[in-house]
Symmetry: C2
């Protein structure tokens, strides 16, 4: 197994699944529209990401901590907007 | 470090961030409404999860493979519905 392309794949995956939440947050802030978003999905995903953050901290796995801290911030914002705009 | 509660936290996190996509898919199928969803977020997240799946396969990390295969299936469906309903 070549570590380099595997590590690069993991880093790219982590970057995409973290940064991807920015356009959703911006779209909601601009449109104030969250109607099509599932509150269950947003809430359960946010709770799951919070647990990934706890998992990363317990294992002192800093890439996991960093990626999930960013994802949690953005999804907590999206969840707050969903609860506000309905 | 007690492995047991850390492993349980990781397993719960993986279950939540995988199963959470089911209510979003069901909501779209019922309402045919994807207006508030960001196409960028849905597309980039789906691409990122596909790379997590490749990463898991390369590392023969079967929990990562399983969770991301389920998440990819549901998000590929949500992306398809977003592209269809706009």
């Amino acid at each position: 197994m070549s570590a380099s392309w595997v590590d690069l794949t993991g880093a790219t995956a982590a970057t995409l699944t973290t940064a991807c939440w920015l356009p959703q947050a911006i779209r909601i802030i601009r449109s104030k529209d969250t109607k099509a978003l599932s509150a269950w999905t947003t809430g359960l995903f946010t709770a799951g990401v919070a647990l990934w953050l706890v998992y990363g901290l317990a294992r002192r796995d800093w890439p996991v901590v960093g990626a999930n801290a960013c994802t949690l911030s953005l999804n907590a914002l999206i969840l707050g907007l969903k609860l506000r705009y309905g």
